[in-house]
Symmetry: C2
């Protein structure tokens, strides 16, 4: 069995910077024709120069023009209309992090109050700049996403013309929002389609499967699978592939993030094929994102086939998901 994907996109990606960028960027561009690049560097990406220079470093690390890095700005409620008008053409979206909620999000929004955010969000709505959100409260770890739903609802109602993307959703509660508000969309990762908290902490503790939001319950995974496998038109693939060096994962305090960039598309193909829904993969990994973001990415083709692939133990210092294991599908060379 095989499938030829046209212009596959990863609509939520962490490429980091410096040496790590050089390690991981080619592993994304080997599979994808473009990706929405998250802005949570240290310091975060908050102005036009930073966007342009980070984009330049990404392109240099990739060394090919068959990959488009779609850039994001790190949300700040101090952004003015003049500022956003001037940076508009260099970004695809603005990413909002509640302060301290995940890796390098310390400069995020402390109080997620609609009135505080209203001026900036109204400008974004006027300028048609989508808002991507890491939607978690600071409550109990298993409840954080569900507790964020009222904020999504308030934003969707207050800014009906603003496109709001719930990033890396993990719960049935978030899935239910998709059909409730016209202007709410979502990305779903590979790992949240595959694992539950049982895989992270039900047997041995698995630091390489530890991520934020944390993997949830079986019924949550079922809800995610339902919309992904059926290529719900408001759902896009976003890997949230997040590299950390091994010593930051296998340690006394382990950083959050699963590294899936090099294996995401073969594993997705296997998953969709196992459900007899391989034809829906094109929409999930490309067409939906093109429609939602109104983008025309580089034209590429990638052939995936059910030839097994041995996943490397490491990519430099980074341990991928399925490290050292065999997966059922691979990218045709």
């Amino acid at each position: 069995m095989k499938i030829t994907l046209k212009s596959p996109l990863d609509m939520h990606l962490h490429l980091r910077d410096d040496e790590m960028l050089k390690t991981v960027a080619p592993l994304s561009s080997n599979s994808f024709c473009g990706a929405l690049v998250m802005p949570n560097l240290v310091p975060p990406v908050t102005d036009k120069d930073m966007v342009k220079s980070y984009k330049g470093r990404i392109i240099e690390a990739i060394g090919s023009d068959c990959f488009e890095p779609y850039m994001t700005l790190f949300f700040q409620d101090s952004y003015t209309r003049a500022f956003l008008e001037q940076v508009r053409d260099d970004i695809l979206a603005v990413k909002l992090y509640p302060a301290g909620i995940t890796t390098n999000s310390e400069g995020g929004v402390a109080a997620l109050d609609v009135e505080t955010l209203r001026p900036t969000l109204q400008i974004m709505s006027d300028l048609k700049i989508p808002l991507c959100i890491h939607g978690e409260s600071n409550g109990f770890v298993m409840d954080r996403e569900q507790e964020f739903m009222p904020i999504y609802e308030a934003l969707a109602q207050s800014f009906p013309e603003l496109s709001i993307v719930m990033e890396h959703i993990t719960t049935a509660a978030a899935v239910a929002m998709l059909d409730r508000y016209d202007n709410i969309y979502a990305t779903i990762t590979l790992h949240h389609l595959l694992i539950t908290l049982d895989d992270v902490a039900g047997g041995m503790l698995k630091p390489h499967l530890f991520c934020k939001p944390i993997a949830k319950r079986y019924e949550d995974r079922e809800a995610l699978l339902h919309v992904a496998l059926n290529a719900h038109p408001k759902v896009m693939f976003g890997s949230d592939s997040a590299p950390h060096p091994q010593h930051k994962k296998e340690a006394c305090g382990c950083a959050a993030g699963v590294f899936t960039a090099p294996i995401a598309l073969p594993v997705l193909a296997e998953l969709f094929a196992n459900h007899g829904l391989l034809d829906n993969l094109q929409s999930f990994v490309s067409n939906n994102a093109m429609n939602i973001y109104n983008i025309t990415p580089p034209v590429t083709e990638l052939v995936l086939e059910d030839t097994p692939m041995h996943v490397p133990e490491k990519y430099n210092t980074v341990i991928p998901m399925y490290a050292g294991e065999q997966i059922g599908w691979s990218i045709r060379k």
Copy 2:
């Protein structure tokens, strides 16, 4: 502030064997006058000779007669009346593990069916041998203890003369069982009085706080604190202190267990004192266990005082809870 504890007991302890036994046994006998020693060695402790020889190795590792290792047998439904009569005087309890539920429990009970267990449990009831249980189903990690409650209920009802100890309870559901059945008791660990899943996986992932049963929700911790701090007469302290070498904790797959033996009593004293209930500590860490198990342990005294103590980074290869941190209370030398 200070308290003099008389004959403190740890009613759930893992001492392991060989080099690890030599490292950890003195760290328990420095604080406690006795402990209920778990039988999940490799292979598990399943006959009289193994009990006697393991007890001998523990006494040798401690090198003092001020510590009584109360021994347990690893439950098997093949134990006969003649066998249990013959081993009765060498053990204090029999410990039942569902198969594969925690470290070295592979030889445990596969199907927890009361009728299958009835012959053995009836003999234990007749011989007044308490049954200690690791009470978890093989369901979703956050539900495992709660799902086990019907089994506790069936056992309590079927064997009203059998003393049943719910080991290392972690949920409000288990706490509620204590007042429902006369013959149900419980141990509570130090760490489950202190942490929730947020401490394990809410920020960075903390392998040294990963244990089975996994730490639960805030309302569960509240329920545990309520019965521990008030020294509910059916509740005993059992540390479940479970040493693993550092390389098995900070690894691609991390073993379950928190090592608390050397700091348990000072931290408990600080906890009880902070709640203004220091006087209840004596019952929680000694008197309740003496009453429940009808034992007369070695007479010792331990003075705890609110003088800060710096917790070592390691005890040989084992990282303790609060490694490298300062705790508010200490053992008077």
